[in-house]
Amino acid sequence: MKFLNEYRDPHLVEQYTQEIRRVVTRPWKIMEVCGGQTHGLVKNGLLQLLPPEVTMVHGPGCPVCVTPLHLIDKAVWLASRPGVALCSFGDMIRVPGSRRSLLEAKALGADVRILYSPLEAVKIAQENPDKEVVFFAVGFETTAPANAMSVLHAKKLGVKNYSILTSHVLVPPAIEAVMSDPETAIDGFLAAGHVCAIMGISEYYPIAEKYQVPIVITGFEPVDLLQGILMTIRQLENGEHRVENQYSRVVLPDGNPAARNIIGQAFDTTDREWRGIGSIPGSGWELRTEFSDFDANKKFNVPLEKAPESSVCIAGQVLKGIKKPFECPEFGKKCTPSNPLGAPMVSSEGACAAYYHFSSLIA
C-alpha cells in the first residue's frame, strides 16, 4: 500500500533503532499520547527494539478508556429504550458500564448499531422517521469534525429524530493534567498526529515552554514512531524542549482550518470528566446551545444516578503514567480483556490491554 509500506520498511526501522541506541545516554520516559500510537508500538513489536534506557508510557489518548462510566450507562439506558437506535463506533460497545455494556444491551434486544461514520447515523434517522437515532459521539479532536458535521447536516436537512450523546475530549489539557501532577515523571511527549492534522501545532508551544518538555508530533507507522522517539531523545539529550513535527506529510502547521470551522460552528469548550482522572477544566467540547435539539444529554431525561468506579482499578494512575498496568493487584487476575474491570483493559489501544497482550512475552 502506497504511503504505508514506505513507513513499514524493515531496513529503515533497523537504522532508526540503531540511531536511537547510539544517541541515548540516560534513562528517559516518553509518553505516546494517542492510543493509536500505543497500538502501533505493540502491534509491530517495537517496544522490544528500543534500548533499555527508553521507557514508553502509554498516555490518556484512548477515547474508549477515558469516557466516563456514567456516560456509558446513559448510552446503555438510551439504547434499551423502545424506539431508540443507538449508533456507535466499534470498540465502544464492549466497554462495561456499571451494569452492562452496549454489547450486552444489544443481546437483550436493544437496537445498537456499529458505524464507521456519524453521517451514516443521520441517514438511518432519515430512513427511520419513527425512530430516535442517537450517535454516541466520543473521541478526541479527530472524530469531532465528523460528529459536528452530522449535526449541521441533520439541522440543514430538517432531521428531527437525530441527536448525539457527546463526550468530546481534548489533548492539550490532558497533557497539562499529566504534567501538573507532581507524581508524574514524563520527560517528553509524542503528540497525536491525527489530532494535530485537525488542530495544527500552535497549541503545543506554550505547553512545551511552561513544562520545559519536548513535544514531537508523531505519526502511527513503525518508522514514524521510531523517528518521533529519536527526535524526542535528541532534544532531551541536548537539554532542549521544542515542538517538532515528525508527521509533516499529514500535519500542516495550521492544521485543517475547514474542519476547525465546522467544529467551531457546532461545539463550545467545556469542563470534562475523564474516566480515572477526574474533571479537567476546559478539556472537552459540548454542543452549542443553538443545537440543543440535537444534544441527547438535553433531549432525553435520563434518570440515572452516577455509579461509582471500581474501587480496585488504578486506571487514573496508569493513564497519567504514574503506575504501570502490571503494578495493579488485579492485572491479569480479575481484570483481563474478556472481563475488564476498567476501561484501559477494553480497547486494544488501552494501556492495560496493550500490556496484557505483550508483557507475558518472555524476552
Binding site: 493509536g36 456499529i114 464507521y116 473521541g139 486494544s348 518472555i362
Partner: protein
C-alpha cells in the same frame, strides 16, 4: 415465494421437494424418500456438523449454499477424511423468494458434485418473517478417514512446521465489504472452496508426517494458532512476512481497523508437519488445487508455552492472543 406452508409437511412441502430438491440432488440414497438414509461404511469414520448463518446470503464469489457444503466437507478433510455423505437442513424465513432458494440449491448441487459428496437426507422448516435471516443451513457429514492419516493435537512436537495454504482474510473482508458498501479496484471474491481433494493427495504422500490440519474459518489464522498453543501447551512462532494477504484485503483491514490474522477464511487451511517433511510437503501442496500460494509461516517451539508470538515484518515481536469476542473496529 416461501411461505409458512412450505414447512408444514403438507402439500406445499411436498411440492417444493418434488418440484426440484429431490430431482436436483438426485442419488440412490436420496431417491428412496425415506426418513433417513441407510448405508454401510467400512473403516475409521469421521463425523462433523456445522450451521451456516452468513449475511448477506449471496456474496462475491459464492453463496450460503456452497459455503454449507464446503464447510462440512472441509471439516471432515481436516480430520483426514474423505466426505461421503451429507445431510442438509434448511431453516427458511418466510418471504425468501423461490429464485433465491433455487440459486442456493443449485450451488449446493455443484459444490457437492465438485467435492464428490452425496446429499442423502435433509429437512426444511420455515419460520415467520423476522424470526430468521432469509436462510439458515445446517449440514452434517460423514466420511472415511484416510488409512495413512494420524491427525491429533497430541502428535504435535516442538520443531514441527506450520504451513498456511494460501492468501488469508479474503472471505471475511468480502463479506464485510458487501455489508459496508466498500468497493475495490479489482473484483475480490470469497475463497470458499472444498479442500478435500488437496488434503487427500497430501495424506497419500505424507500420511503420519502431518500432525494437524485445521481450516482457518471463523476467528482466522490467529485463533487456530492459539488453539494449537493452548492444547499442546507448547509455543507457536509465526513470521509476519510469510503471511500472504491480498493488497485490497490488507487495505480494507487497514481502513476498517481489523487485523487480517483474525479475519475469517473459507478455503485456507493450516497444516502442522514434521520438520524433515515440511519442505517436500510445501512443494507438493504448491502443485495442488488451492495450494499454489502456500508458505511455511512458522513453527512449534518449546519456548513461551501456550503462547503465539509473531515476528513482525519490521523485526519486533508481539504476542498474538485469542480474541476476547468479536473483532471490533477501533475508534481512531
Amino acid at each position: 415465494m416461501i411461505t409458512l406452508g412450505h414447512g408444514s409437511g403438507g402439500l406445499l412441502t411436498n411440492k417444493l421437494l418434488e418440484s426440484g430438491v429431490f430431482d436436483l440432488l438426485k442419488n440412490p440414497l436420496l431417491d428412496t424418500h425415506h426418513d433417513g438414509a441407510v448405508f454401510e461404511m467400512p473403516g475409521r469414520l469421521a463425523f462433523s456438523t456445522d450451521s451456516y448463518v452468513v449475511s448477506p446470503i449471496f456474496f462475491p464469489g459464492g453463496n450460503i449454499g456452497e459455503l454449507a457444503v464446503n464447510g462440512t466437507v472441509n471439516d471432515l478433510a481436516m480430520c483426514g477424511a474423505a466426505a461421503r455423505y451429507l445431510s442438509l437442513a434448511f431453516i427458511l424465513e418466510e418471504g425468501l423468494t423461490m429464485r433465491e432458494f433455487w440459486d442456493v440449491l443449485v450451488s449446493i448441487k455443484f459444490a457437492a458434485e465438485h467435492a464428490g459428496v452425496q446429499i442423502v437426507t435433509g429437512d426444511t422448516k420455515v419460520v415467520e418473517r423476522g424470526k430468521g435471516d432469509k436462510i439458515f443451513i445446517n449440514t452434517t457429514g460423514i466420511g472415511q478417514v484416510h488409512p495413512r492419516a494420524n491427525i491429533a493435537m497430541g502428535n504435535i512436537q516442538p520443531g514441527d512446521k506450520i504451513i498456511c495454504s494460501g492468501y488469508i482474510a479474503t472471505h471475511g473482508i468480502v463479506i464485510l465489504s458487501v455489508r459496508e458498501g466498500l468497493e475495490f479496484g479489482t473484483t475480490l471474491l470469497s475463497d470458499t472452496t472444498n479442500l478435500n481433494h488437496t488434503v487427500l493427495h497430501l495424506l497419500d504422500d505424507f500420511g503420519p508426517d502431518i500432525t494437524l490440519l485445521r481450516d482457518a474459518t471463523r476467528g482466522g489464522v490467529a485463533t487456530v494458532l492459539n488453539e494449537i498453543a493452548r492444547d499442546t501447551r507448547l509455543g507457536v512462532e509465526i513470521h509476519q512476512k510469510a503471511l500472504k494477504v491480498y493488497e485490497e484485503v490488507d487495505g480494507a483491514c487497514e481502513m476498517l481497523g481489523l487485523d487480517p490474522l483474525y479475519v475469517a477464511n473459507e478455503g485456507v487451511f493450516l497444516a502442522v508437519v514434521r520438520p524433515d517433511a515440511a519442505e517436500a510437503f510445501l512443494q507438493k501442496l504448491r502443485t495442488l488445487e488451492h495450494g499454489a500460494d502456500a508458505e511455511i509461516i512458522g513453527e512449534v517451539v518449546d519456548a513461551h508455552p501456550k503462547q503465539v508470538v509473531l515476528h513482525s515484518r519490521v523485526g519486533g515481536r508481539r504476542v498474538v492472543n485469542m480474541l476476547a469476542g468479536e473483532q471490533l473496529p477501533r475508534i481512531c
